[in-house]
Symmetry: C2
Subunit: 323 residues, 2 copies
């Protein structure tokens, strides 16, 4: 079958892939629509040492499984596959199982192919009210919802988001539902439709003296190595900096201000699918303006290139069996 | 009067200091015993840009104030002096008042002198059951108690402490009362009396493969620039790294593991005096073995040198009016 494969050196479209072998308890899924995120771009540059089919954001159709009730279902799915036996898995934390595979990221082929597999327990049915073009955002939107699982945020809070890219824009949409005011510092303003309590500012404004300590919560969603220092400038004493991106370059900064101001820095990765799907079913929750372009699977190598261009938002790939 | 002064370049004993002017609401205090901590050593090297009398750990006697009830009282005192008017102070967070002075650290002369001043509201009376040699540990012990205000720790938890120095040893004593097991990684084992649920290991063991992710909470109390990376190695997914020391050299490390494992890094500074004083009144709570030596105020320049020698624990300075 066709798929986009990273072999450790390069990433290319291959037509000779074997169809995936489905293990017990797993479903074979045909992607209807897949999304490309920055993690895919990093993996294509060698991050995580991954080899295999790229991609982990999808809405698809179950085409094979042992439970007939799932056949033909339109689904989204959690990307972490725990071992099912360890204490982490027993606590429902398969996202942090030490023996986990992660779809398209760690030890498990991803979704940029004609077919892929996931455990049935990872799947959620997509309500009819959520079209594919919205459902494909479930995984990254769940990652944005993870923030509000980790940090108590209320209507009295002012939150800053660094970065108005793919993930930052979703974080903004989630935070705007909960926080009183959201400020986005971004290199590219005026893209996408913003909720009314969101204000955009030029990225360089984040470092301005009047913004020092102005936010109780700061979400870092740029992946830029200097952004943590900027986040620490923006956050108030006893405030929280949420790290949403796996930045490759090492940060170098003195941590004395973290101690003096008793700041909390918290890493934030995958999140809950249910609230993400529910939000995507709300007609007031807008993600369509975040879509840059859609490519057919046969051209998903071009899609990856497009996704890597500076300032490009979400690039989608249409699935389906290739004749 | 006599006092140990950092003038921006050097730190030396001066005999020509004016006695401190007491503001309304303040007490003039004569130190009975003062302690030297690593922050004092850093300040003597230029940290914080402080100029003035060094020192912030003390037990002393009120020798002047507007409220006769405090005259002659044996006291310890919080080192942060808020403006009293801002929203932080209104919330009881004078430790984080943006206009605060901090005893011997920021805009306020410290305790290594014949006399110093503090607001009366910062003072706590020392019970008779707590001798001076214990009471002088109240401030750094309160900083250790701050950890358990910030992080929920229970009897089922395994906690690691990096560093068996002055602050690390106090953190160990506090954590041993609450956590099931405490592991201390230290360059110098066998100093001080340890509670039974505490185990000491050589510092280099912290980096061992079998300790990867072995602790839910890791307290960094070395001030060593490489220690954050070690702490991230030791902490389990979704665990907490507590930074207790204001390390001067910048850390340089990739933060991807913080995001992937959703680790929380939390800065921790000054803490509550009441539980610290209560612990010091408990005969099972031992700090005497942490005392290295005691110098008279006339030789507190030598005390600072001694405190800066590698591996030296708490150096104390006896106060009192100099004839």
């Amino acid at each position: 079958m066709l798929g986009l494969v990273h072999d450790g050196n390069s990433t290319r479209l291959r037509r000779d892939l074997p169809r995936p072998a489905r293990a017990a308890g797993e479903a074979t899924i045909r992607p209807r629509l897949a999304g490309i995120c920055n993690t895919d771009l990093e993996i294509a540059r060698g991050y995580m040492g991954f080899r295999g089919v790229l991609g982990h954001e999808f809405v698809g159709e179950v085409i094979a499984c042992d439970d007939a009730a799932w056949l033909g279902a339109r689904v989204v799915g959690g990307i972490n596959c725990g071992c099912g036996h360890c204490s982490r898995c027993a606590r429902g934390e398969q996202n942090h199982c030490g023996a986990r595979s992660v779809l398209g990221i760690l030890g498990r082929d991803g979704v940029l192919a004609e077919e892929f597999t996931l455990p049935l327990r990872n799947l959620l049915r997509v309500p009819d009210s959520v079209p594919d073009r919205a459902a494909v955002f479930t995984e990254p939107l769940a990652a944005a919802f993870r923030i509000v699982e980790q940090v108590a945020i209320g209507s009295g809070d002012s939150v800053a988001v660094l970065g108005g890219g793919k993930l930052g824009s979703l974080c903004v949409r989630v935070l705007a539902r909960i926080a009183g005011r959201v400020a986005v510092f971004t290199r590219r303003r005026g893209r996408g439709v913003l909720p009314p309590n969101v204000s955009e500012y030029p990225a360089e404004d984040a470092a301005a003296a009047q913004n020092r300590g102005a936010f109780r919560v700061v979400v870092e969603a740029t992946g830029n190595e200097a952004a943590l220092a900027t986040a620490l400038h923006l956050v108030e004493p006893r405030g929280v900096v949420v790290l949403k991106t796996t930045c490759q370059p090492p940060h170098s900064l003195g941590l004395a201000p973290v101690v003096i101001d008793e700041v909390t820095i918290i890493g934030s990765r995958c999140g809950p699918f249910a609230p993400a799907l529910a939000a995507l079913g709300d007609r007031h929750f807008e993600v369509d303006s975040l879509i840059d372009s859609t490519f057919p699977l046969e051209r998903c190598d071009e899609a990856l290139v497009r996704a890597g261009e500076r300032g490009v938002l979400k690039v989608l790939v249409e699935g389906g069996r290739i004749p």
